[in-house]
Amino acid sequence: MRLRTPEHMVTFTFDGKPVQGIPGEPVAAALLAHGQKLVARSFKYHRPRGIMSAGSEEQNALVTVGRGAQTEPNVRATILEVSEGLEVFSQNAWPSLKYDMMAVNDLIAPFLGAGFYYKTFMWPKAFWEKLYEPVIRRAAGLGGLSGQTNPDQYEKAFGFCDILIVGAGPAGLMAARTAGRAGADVVLADEDTAMGGRLLREVEEVDGTAGTEWVATVLDELAAMDNVRLMTRTTVTGAYDQGTYAALERVVGKDGPLECFWRIVAKRTILCAGALERPIAFPNNERPGIMMASAVRSYVNRWGVAPGKAVTIFGNNDDAHRTAHDLVAAGVKVAALIDSRDDVEATGDFPIYTGARVVATKGRHALEAITVSHDGGTRDIRTDCLAMSGGWNPTVHLTCHMNGRPAWREDIASFVPTPDSIPGMVAAGACNGTFSTAACLNEGAQVAAEVAGGLGLEPRVTVPAAEDRTYRIMPLWAVPGKGRKWIDFQNDVHVKDIKLAAQENFRSVEHMKRYTTQGMAPDQGKSSNVVALAVLADATGRGIPETGTTTFRPPYVPVPIAAMGAGSQGKGFAPERLTTSHKVTVAQAAPMIEAGLWYRPSYFPKPGETHWRQSCDREVGFVRNAVGVCDVSTLGKIDIQGPDAAALLDFVYANTFSTLKRGKVRYGLMLREDGHVMDDGTTARLGDQHFVMTTTTAAAGLVMRHLEFVLQVLRPDLDARVMSVTEQWAQFAVAGPKARALLNTVLDREITNDDWPFMACGPVGVAGVAGRLFRISFSGEHAYEVAVPARFGESLFRLLVTQAEMLGGGAYGMEALNVLRIEKGFITHAEIHGRTTALDIGMDRMVSLKKDCVGQAASRRPGLLDEDREQLVGLKPVGAVKQLTAGAHLFEQRAEAVRANGQGYVTSVCYSPTLQTNLGLAFLKGGRARHGEVVQMVDHLRGITAQVTVCDPVFFDPDGGRARG
């Protein structure tokens, strides 16, 4: 029922039925106004549940929003804002909220107590996976995910400030005003849709005016300050090292992201997070219609909604009375006020029971009546809403995120933060156990003044007058009686579960938590933990401080992984690096494969070709018989300059580069300091102090980092500088007998074998553009790599491919490139995979002993020189089975193919159209001495066994004459 007539209403749906609501108000308020008491089913027993709170701590009213891929489960109806057309669904019930089949769990509840799963489903083990777990998962649970890709947008952001203020109630507003006026750079974050905290809910005066008016005035002042940033709908969810805080912002607006995940770095932080009201564990204290007293005041005073027609109030502190008076003032009938304390003087035009308890409740889908025990007798009272208040728990959570433990304060029967639990954070107001509005205003201002003073500012403190009542409470945790007394509403834990845990010797609070699942629901026991501790303390005969608390961990409220990972999906996770020839290549329908973040063509299909092998064989033929063109720009290119550039190369390469002549290229082998091969590539000497190194595509970043490491950490004495120029140059391989003929059609000056012999390099003019030419070969053919500034890459690629086609060749892709290099026994990272040495790949003579280099000392370790190590060999099939597979293992011919008999493994395979056979590269124990031997290749994964003969890994043109010709 609404207490005020709204100006503007919109329609949303709950389980398909239309409900009217005011835009921006919580869905919970609209449902209460609509008379919808039953909104959810509980996690384990599928008990009917209603709205319990008016904030993010809500345990019961979890709903699902939206449909299809945009479904969002487990949204708290108390913070979900009403908007036109919003689709809200109840969850965890089938076939409907009112007639939930799984409520059968509730009937067998006596058997489902704490530890039930542990005791019952222990044996037989196989049943757990196949039977118990699926059944339990279906029966117990919250909302479900759609299983589809989430199309919603999320965002992440980074913030920096002098002072972060968490919470904008009386203390937070005063802290922000004090710090803001002093000139501090302030972020004030509050999880509510509006700032003001309790002043939005309570009927109180501040500074001689209504609390809400005072809030508006302060917010106006803060909004006008450039140095203050106000963040509503922003929950600070975690405290981390170095003053870093995580925060989740619910973003308003249809087109933007749903949520934004913030990392806020603050020099200092003032925690003004307020307090959460706690329930009382009386019998059947969870029927729809039973809610927190402060929530009742929120709905009545702030949202203008009466949560019931005849409201009863049950409390152990003065807030119960405040609730009763607010209801009367709003015109809502108060059926009874029940105060558990004896020594209170209560007034009001309604029945008052002091020293009384609620001992029973009735009503299947909604509260209908309660039974009050009073003066030794009982009395039934008809009521459709019971407001309960068991006192207040300061919101200490953030102070515990770095191992801090809160301290017990007997006078308020609550835990308060231990100072300095988080470096740089101070608590003020209700979260610090300071409860009256006046005291909160004062503490917020005083703490902010201290903090701002500590930052070298000169703050002034002025505090407005406000209500300053003493908080009087008599602890009341659980009320005896027939029926379950719920503590953790979200995980369905009740008093008896806790007692059972204690009885079965799970007496430590951490053990009790895990045995009963108390506090392990998404709300992390915000409202229930202190009650549970009190019950455990009682059951074990200890005090609450001795019993201790469990650990509060981030996040304070559930954070969608989509928000934390915002920007890291799809291309945000793996950005694309595209070569200059990409567009042309894709236009030719070449399938692209990933090489790190790069995309490279597998092959260039021609009309009539139906299988990749046909294209690949043709492209291999281009290179062997005419000329092929391939984009090799993805290889790392590092420019190295300086007086000690040659000395640097001598130190990072196993072989010597200082002897390399200007205008020449040399193959280099790079070791890790532990003696294994890191990478290989060619390095060209363009000048006395100028080299260009190429790395493999995969190791480009690694080698760059390594060179900087060598220059800065190992050899700061060397005067040289390195710079990645991979992106600056487009580079193309031109390979095949007609390579020079092709190049001479595009170069400004013709080249000959005499002025450009094998391994020559230097500047050239390429169709009028200053470029570089390297006579190097990864195919074994007469070949070059020609480089131009990247902006000319696409046009040069087009030109080269056109000219190649006129000479009977064309473009080739990665498949052909791989075949060409296997035919020649050239290695890639399939062979130098991190466990191979120079000796293993037959390049041990390249490791110069005349100079020190990275990896040289360790490469001489006895274990790395063992002749029985697995060495690089070639393989050819000799039996009936011709197929070779990479990853297959090698065994002696008659040996059983088991691990103990392993002789080696296959690293690379291809079909060689040149030699018309399958070829393999492999590592075989003592392999170089075993050429000619027949071994068996077994691929256990694919079920292939083949007889292969061991041979030299250079299958084609072993004396290398073709490359020099």
Binding site: F158, D241, Q242, T244, V265, E673, D674, R705, E708, F709, L711, Q712, V713, L714, P716, D852, Q856, A857, A858, R861
Partner: protein
């Protein structure tokens, strides 16, 4: 976590590549005994407390840094350029 790069100021740890113990600064001579190389390559302390390690400001200025920090309190005491570090 943030590190203060001497070149760039206080920067988020996502800009840095973590290498490991700063023992890397003290590379043995090529002819050092095998035990010295073994210690250099493989043997590491696992301190609960102050530690010194190397970080590379890869997404920043490209400097290798020697960082003093505490593995228990997570306090970062400071960072210096590796090329100027004592060896």
């Amino acid at each position: 976590m943030r590190l203060t790069c001497p070149n760039c100021g206080e920067r988020d740890r996502r800009e840095f590549y973590y290498y490991g113990d700063a023992i890397a600064l003290r590379r043995p001579a090529p002819d050092a005994v095998p035990e010295a190389w073994d210690d250099y390559l493989h043997n590491r302390k696992n301190p609960a407390g102050d530690t010194t390690d190397l970080w590379f400001h890869e997404a920043g200025c490209g400097a290798w840094l020697v960082v003093d920090r505490n593995t228990v309190t997570h306090a970062v005491h400071g960072a210096t350029l590796a090329e100027k570090a004592k060896r």
